[in-house]
Symmetry: C2
Subunit: 328 residues, 2 copies
């Protein structure tokens, strides 16, 4: 089963069809970046409507068994995720409520420090807060994936250490291969791997450098990442932003926290939306990734692990065993 650890596309029927064409068994979608409690509920309402309208193509999964069943039924399983903890509105109790509503992945911070910890772009990182430790514990309890992709180094290390369950970096690359604030230190990646976590390697141009040049270059980055942290801990997190437009990019990068232009993973010299990768314009190109891994020397078992098997094992460990009920 092919699994994409994170996408931030503006999903619609066409993009769902691309998931099917690419043979995707499971994708984590982004339900929000800066949205508050009510706005996040609104996002869930909108996602339910979108999924119901495309029930022949996709379904929401809340357990690993559901991912497998949805895949076996010829559909793509969607994991509902937020790229920030703002949906919690500062309430520890909302971790459980949103889990009951199907949310399965949450990044602790997006691009600026919040009540949980620091982002990868903050100049100072004071680590996981007292509330942050509670959030991590509560996410462990309800079976929500802790995502550290945009999270600061110290906060991330402390989250790895504090978490009782393996944690994820759904979409980033090793900084030792591509130096960038969004990429991750070897120390963090090794700590994550030592606790059973998974890194979703991304081809996103802004954080992939020369490895974005071709599927083979990307496969080389995967191979070097496997050398660094071991085969079991490497998956894919494309960070694909199909149909993301400038207004979306502004919302992602600036949210409501600044009046100044922000470039996110870009820069003043490189301010705009990145053009699609020629070799990965959308998820229909997923089989090509497997072929590139094969050309790079991965055997079929290894290819299967990177293309989805590692994520599925991780989800089996981290997601709850049963669908949510209000009475537990």
């Amino acid at each position: 089963m092919f699994i994409d650890g994170l996408e931030c596309s503006n999903f619609d029927r066409e993009i769902f069809q691309e998931l099917r064409a690419g043979g995707l068994g499971c994708v984590t979608v982004t339900c929000g970046f800066w949205e508050d409690g009510l706005e996040s509920m609104d996002a869930l309402v909108a996602w339910r409507a979108l999924v119901r309208a495309n029930d022949d193509l996709v379904r929401v999964a809340t357990t690993a068994a559901e991912i497998e069943a949805i895949h076996a039924g010829g559909r793509t399983a969607l994991l509902l995720g937020f790229q920030n903890s703002s949906f919690l509105a500062g309430r520890i109790g909302y971790v459980e409520l949103f889990a009951d509503l199907g949310v399965r992945v949450a990044q602790l911070t997006y691009n600026i420090q919040n009540d949980v910890g620091a982002s990868c772009y903050d100049l100072e990182d004071a680590g996981l807060t007292r509330y942050g430790r509670e959030v991590v514990g509560e996410m462990n309890r309800v079976g929500m994936v802790i995502d550290l992709s945009h999270v600061g180094e110290r906060t991330s290390i402390e989250a790895v250490e504090h978490s009782a369950a393996p944690v994820a970096i759904t979409h980033a690359n090793p900084a030792s291969l591509v130096p960038h604030a969004r990429n991750k230190s070897d120390a963090l990646l090794k700590a994550l791997a030592a606790r059973g976590g998974v890194l979703g390697v991304s081809g996103y141009r802004n954080i992939s450098g020369e490895y974005a040049a071709s599927a083979d270059a990307w496969a080389e980055m995967v191979a070097r990442t496997v050398d660094l942290i071991g085969l079991d801990h490497v998956g894919i997190g494309s960070d694909l932003g199909r149909k993301v437009v400038d207004a979306d990019l502004r919302w992602m990068r600036q949210g409501r926290w600044t009046r100044t232009t922000q470039y996110g993973a870009g820069s003043a010299a490189n301010p705009g939306k990145q053009p699609p990768l020629e070799w990965f314009p959308d998820t229909t190109a997923f089989p090509g990734l497997a072929e590139a891994l094969t050309r790079r020397g991965f055997d079929p078992t290894e290819v299967a692990a990177v293309m989805g098997g590692n994520w599925l094992r991780f989800y089996r460990q981290v997601l709850p065993a049963h669908p949510p009920t209000s009475e537990e």
Copy 2:
């Protein structure tokens, strides 16, 4: 099984123990009156914590089967209810989200007109709004009890007619027996009964007049109500407010909608919290209600119907057959 169709007590362990002592199988509790979306989520968080801390006495039920199982296990089942539709924050999609979080009863309005319809205290009642019709339909779909206790006459009639499922008046009395804005016309009660609904007869002093004088007087009101709408449609809705203090009463009556003193079901001449009924100080007195009904001439089958059987049949019809899951 004894069932109380509505209480607004400030529940704590002592009050849960009273439920057990009274032999209550199920009680609908009030999670909020004027609270907005986030405040209502906060209320659910608080209710979950309270119920978990008293798991030996009470559990939340989301289906009729759960009510019966919780009762069989020696606990009291709680149905989570709101006495207003403000928790929806104007969102049709929140009916389903809050249902997924366990909410099973909602009054369409509290004491002032809202986006759904008019309350029983409004001088004009323009009926169920377009949004209100959608809310009723959505409550039908997810299996949420539509409560008309504080709802205006025309809005109520239209809700009865528009609803595909039987509806409830969880706590009120026939206005033909006790004239009061909070009590219900014969026309409304008969329409409700004709569609399979249930009225919870209350002993609350402000809306019970002479029938609040004793358990036997209350039983007489029950008998006259049965004469009016039939045995199958009469249950109990005590409206009990154990440990409700003046600040609670102010919140119920004034919410945030007025700077002036409001008396709710009371009056300027009768402004305060009503003293407890000597014959019904708390739910430990429930067996006494059954005895009073027997003295009034109800046979054991009829007593059982009024004391809980009618509510249970209603819940079997209206509540969903299965506990909520995020994936349906």
